[in-house]
């Protein structure tokens, strides 16, 4: 079995007295699309934020290609984090920058690309995400769906190796949802990045992700393929998938 790209071992995290993660065990493999499902407030976003370093675990370990993250030299951590990209649930677009500058920001601030190359990359993402004509507008002037696509464009503009999607389709109509899902699939096939998607889109996400993990009460209750879900006898999983409260 291949060494997981990212592995959570008994990761726990509390905020004050509230224990959000109680011992997460999860493996994420290189080049796969894995979806994390679960009820709201069960710590799915917190789990993603551990990967990108926005949140540090209280206990447990996160391994990167088999090596504990906290033992890696700073340079290696930095180069790992530079391969990551994060799409926020609420988009986190900058109100004072227009759409072009929002998408170009990670390239302008970090890379040494010449201006022409930045422009080419940004315009290509704008076109691929059907955002043509919005370059000069500001986020507040766009619809919720368009803002989502801008956030997606910004997440993909750096050609990352791992992309973390925090509910990428929340607030989108069914047509746009389908577009975003197909785009994630298409880009993943094209660029071969690893995608971790936190999603509530059931059952649509089962057609996008190669593996699905379900988080409940701070632990992973299920990890497997779409077929495994259909074959599963887990009460919690089946109730969640069919939208029942148990």
């Amino acid at each position: 079995m291949a060494v997981p790209l990212i592995q959570f071992i008994e990761v726990a995290k509390s905020f004050g007295t509230h224990r959000v993660l109680k011992g997460i065990n999860l493996s994420i493999y290189k080049g796969e699309i894995i979806a994390i499902i679960g009820k709201s407030g069960t710590g799915k976003s917190v789990l993603l934020k551990h990967i990108i370093g926005l949140v540090q675990q209280d206990s447990g370990q996160i391994l990167i290609e088999g090596e504990p993250l906290h033992k890696l030299p700073a340079q290696k951590i930095q180069s790992f984090q530079k391969e990551l990209s994060y799409m926020f649930q609420e988009n986190a677009l900058f109100d004072f920058l227009n759409i072009y500058d929002n998408i170009a920001l990670p390239l302008v601030e970090n890379s040494k690309f010449p201006k022409a190359q930045v422009k080419e990359k940004v315009l290509s993402r704008i076109e691929q995400l059907s955002l043509t004509g919005t370059q000069e507008k500001f986020p507040a002037q766009l619809s919720g769906g368009m803002r989502k696509r801008v956030a997606l464009a910004r997440a993909l503009v750096t050609d990352p190796k791992i992309v973390l999607f925090d509910e990428p389709t929340t607030g989108l109509d069914p047509v746009r949802k389908k577009t975003v899902h197909s785009m994630i699939q298409e880009y993943q096939e094209k660029f071969g990045f690893t995608a971790v998607i936190v999603s509530h889109d059931i059952p649509e996400i089962f057609n996008v992700a190669q593996r699905i993990a379900m988080i409940d009460d701070g632990v992973i209750r299920f990890e497997g393929t779409k077929k495994d879900i259909l074959d599963s006898h887990s009460k919690i999983l089946n109730a969640f998938v069919s939208g029942e409260d148990i």
Binding site: I52, Q81, A92, P106, E109, N110
Partner: protein, 261 residues
């Protein structure tokens, strides 16, 4: 009971030290980044426009009325001793040494400082600061560094403007309205003001620019630590930033005056 009391004092002291440590670190990271390439010229110009140019009207208006009030009050005090001829000197020195830098700092805090806290606070609660981190952009360099440079440029210039218009306000009250000879007024201004007075005012303006920008940006940046998330958190941070900036401007004013007089 006693142990709990001591524990409470200990907690408070630790909290104060932690806050001080965070402020100092925040300021140091922001200031060191002024000299880190590439320089953020575009952002510095934008913020100088916002902090400096857009404050000109409010500073001019405040300066004018402060000078006019000083002229009026000064005249009626000096006339009792037959020294109304010294009005120009009294108005100019009061403005240049004290009121110019302090009022300018307070007015900029109210106009631009509050906006800094609110803007950065909203960025915090809407995860824009986290987004910067995920893009490997130093948020302190991105948000605080250009603002502090803009403030260092703007505060002394606006203080100078306040002083000049304030002296003109004193002239309107004293000479135009109350009849003091205009040549005498201007002559006492020129003769009484020394370079050390002007420099002292500028030193204060420089210190105030650092104090106000650091407090306002810090409060916005750490909105979630002190005031919680949400619109209420941002409004509370903004209020605290303005109140604390004004208090610290007055405290530093006293300290600088004490050591330079």
């Amino acid at each position: 009971m006693l142990i709990k009391f001591i524990e409470k004092i200990g907690e408070t002291v630790i909290e104060i030290l932690e806050t001080l440590g965070r402020i100092v670190l925040f300021f140091l990271i922001g200031s060191v980044n002024i000299f880190v390439l590439p320089f953020q010229w575009g952002k510095i110009i934008d913020h100088t426009w916002f902090v400096g140019t857009k404050s000109i009207f409010v500073i001019a208006l405040t300066g004018l009325f402060t000078g006019m009030v000083l002229g009026l009050q000064g005249y009626y005090s000096l006339v009792k001793f037959g020294s109304e001829a010294a009005l120009g000197s009294a108005v100019a020195l009061t403005l240049i040494r004290e009121l110019g830098p302090v009022f300018t700092a307070i007015m900029i805090t109210a106009r631009a400082g509050s906006a800094m806290t609110a803007e950065i606070g909203v960025m915090r609660i809407s995860e824009q600061i986290d987004a910067l981190k995920t893009m490997h952009i130093n948020p302190v360099r991105f948000m605080f560094t250009p603002r502090i440079v803009a403030a260092i440029i703007s505060f002394p210039l606006l203080t100078a403007l306040f002083d000049v218009i304030g002296i003109l306000g004193g002239y309107i009250s004293g000479s135009v309205m109350l009849g003091i000879n205009r040549y005498v007024y201007m002559d006492t201004v020129i003769k009484s003001v020394e370079l050390s007075d002007i420099n002292g005012g500028f030193y204060k303006a420089l210190v105030f620019s650092i104090v106000v920008t650091t407090i306002c940006c810090y409060r916005g940046y750490y909105t979630h630590l002190y005031s919680g998330f949400g619109a209420k958190g941002v409004s509370l941070s903004t209020t605290n930033a303005v109140v604390q900036s004004c208090i610290f401007v007055l405290v530093f004013d006293y300290i600088i005056t004490f050591f330079t007089v």
